[in-house]
């Protein structure tokens, strides 16, 4: 950082003769861009070639579905509360299970979601995690509201992220 601020402070009077002439500097710049032209490219040709994100990636939030077929979510509403974009709506209801509360309705409006991951961070049950799914396209507003049917994801598909969270959260 110190270096940058120094170079920012450089005024015209600080320049050497050759820098003032500017032509050698242009040549340097041209050399740099030319070097880049022959370097390997970073582009991924998307539909054919897909980016598989690392576990630290925050894709669309999903609900964890246990192997027993039950969701972990207890509908505490903290994700809904913390969501800065008001994307999450939860309606709790009572169930006979040991954890007496479950989400009767759990909706994420993907048009509102900003992928900040606060819902995941605040979740006391590790029930909502950020997946690797970044392919989100809808043709109308209604489709953008993901209900439990779309959100529930088997825990086996989310192992990466859950491990990452346990390690770094």
């Amino acid at each position: 950082m110190a270096q940058t601020s120094d170079s920012l402070k450089k005024r015209k009077k600080d320049l050497t003769f050759w820098q003032k002439i500017y032509i050698p500097e242009i040549a340097k710049g041209l050399a740099l861009t030319f070097k880049n032209m022959i370097r390997p490219k970073f582009t991924m040709e998307y539909p054919e070639e897909k980016f598989i994100p690392p576990p630290s990636y925050r894709g669309r939030p999903v609900l964890v579905l246990e192997e027993t077929g039950e969701e972990r979510c207890v509908a505490c509403g903290l994700c809904s509360r913390v969501c800065p974009a008001l994307a999450i709506e939860v309606q709790a209801a009572e169930t006979e299970r040991e954890k007496e509360r479950y989400p009767q309705k759990f909706e994420i409006n993907m048009l509102r979601c900003i992928f900040c991951g606060l819902c995941e961070e605040v979740c006391p049950e590790e029930a909502i995690v950020m997946s690797k799914d970044y392919e989100l396209a809808f043709t109308n507003r209604e489709d953008a509201i993901y209900g439990k049917d779309k959100l529930l994801t088997p825990v086996s598909q989310l192992k990466d992220r859950i491990e990452f969270l346990r390690k770094y959260k």
């Binding site: 242009i26 861009t33 880049n36 032209m37 022959i38 390997p40 970073f42 582009t43």
Partner: protein, 341 residues
């Protein structure tokens, strides 16, 4: 040759040159995008046709299909004329650019230039000066502050750099003792003007960048400040007109640089290759196009390397650096002529 033959030959030449130019312009846009991509470690357009080879046609098709929007406060006539002027100027200039020595086809001695005018260089200067009207008109007639600012900047810039451009050419004309492009090319058969008068070469190249409104001198457009500058309020084919004109101007500028400073179709060692007459002509024409291609690549390469000048820097450079340098160049050439004579 009788008058009918001259007309037919000229028509053929015009069609040939226009066709080549339009195709080149289209592909220049393609290469601009490709080279930009490469400089940024990207791939560039590669979806339309093999390696995106049909991209220019897709672009043109898209522009054709777009809605032509004219702002409510625009002066409709001038707004429509402006891109036409730009295109007219860009294409008529090609008339005097020679691409090779005279060739003999079907018994006719044909010069590879549409119009072999004896004051061709002056013609080019005159026409390119007209180009400023296109931009000024476009800027004024759009009825938008961004366009107007772009137009004003453009006229100031083009007029300023025309002076250094004209004076840089002075050195070339002194050496060639002619305004005829073919004479100028032939005068460089031994040694290129670029080597004899490097200062003139540099001032001319810089002025050419400024005249074509290319980066680092694209202040009339200057997206970050002026949206699109003079063409902010243009869409559809009118916009395409300016777009084509810009690239056509690039080609002219390259051709002029090659003609005036890089020996036209001449290469220093061409005689030592021992090629027979017609093969030599082919070789020379190819060398002209290769040189032009290199210049065009240079235009694009510079665009993706150097940031835009500030307006005051641009004016300082034009008046306080380029203008004196071009004067120095004339003196330098005059001294050389004095000594060698």
């Amino acid at each position: 040759m009788n008058i009918t033959e001259i007309i037919i030959v000229s028509l053929i030449k015009i069609v040939f040159v226009l066709g080549i130019t339009l195709l080149t312009v289209a592909y220049l846009v393609y290469f601009e995008r490709k080279i930009a991509a490469w400089a940024q470690n990207r791939i560039g357009p590669n979806r339309v046709g093999w390696q995106g080879i049909l991209q220019p046609f897709a672009d043109v098709f898209k522009l054709l299909l777009k809605e032509d929007i004219v702002p409510e406060k625009a002066n409709r006539i001038v707004h429509a004329i402006a891109p036409m002027i730009a295109l007219f100027v860009a294409f008529t200039t090609y008339a005097v650019i020679p691409i090779g020595p005279n060739v003999n086809i079907f018994g006719y001695d044909i010069s590879l230039v549409v119009a072999d005018v004896n004051m061709g260089v002056l013609y080019v200067l005159a026409l390119t000066s007209l180009g400023v009207y296109a931009i000024t008109f476009a800027g004024w007639s759009s009825g938008s502050k961004y366009s107007l600012l772009g137009g004003i900047r453009s006229s100031a810039q083009m007029i300023s750099y025309e002076i250094s451009m004209g004076f840089s050419i002075g050195g070339v004309l002194l050496l060639a003792e002619s305004l005829r492009p073919i004479d100028i090319v032939n005068s460089q058969a031994g040694l290129w003007n670029a080597i004899i008068q490097p200062i003139g070469f540099i001032t001319f190249v810089v002025s050419a960048f400024a005249e074509t409104n290319r980066l680092p001198f694209d202040l009339p457009e200057a997206e970050p400040e002026l949206v699109g500058g003079f063409h902010t309020e243009y869409s559809s084919m009118k916009f395409a007109g300016f777009f084509l004109a810009e690239y056509a101007n690039m080609i002219i500028a390259s051709a002029m640089i090659v003609t005036l400073y890089l020996g036209g179709w001449h290469l220093p060692f061409e005689q030592s290759l021992g090629l027979s007459g017609s093969w030599l002509t082919v070789f020379q024409i190819t060398s002209f196009f290769v040189k032009m291609g290199a210049m065009l690549f240079f235009f694009i390469w510079v665009r993706w390397s150097i940031p835009r000048f500030r307006y005051d820097q641009l004016m300082n450079l034009g008046w306080k650096v380029m203008f004196p340098l071009s004067l120095i160049n004339i003196i330098w050439v005059a001294v050389i002529i004095m000594i060698t004579n």
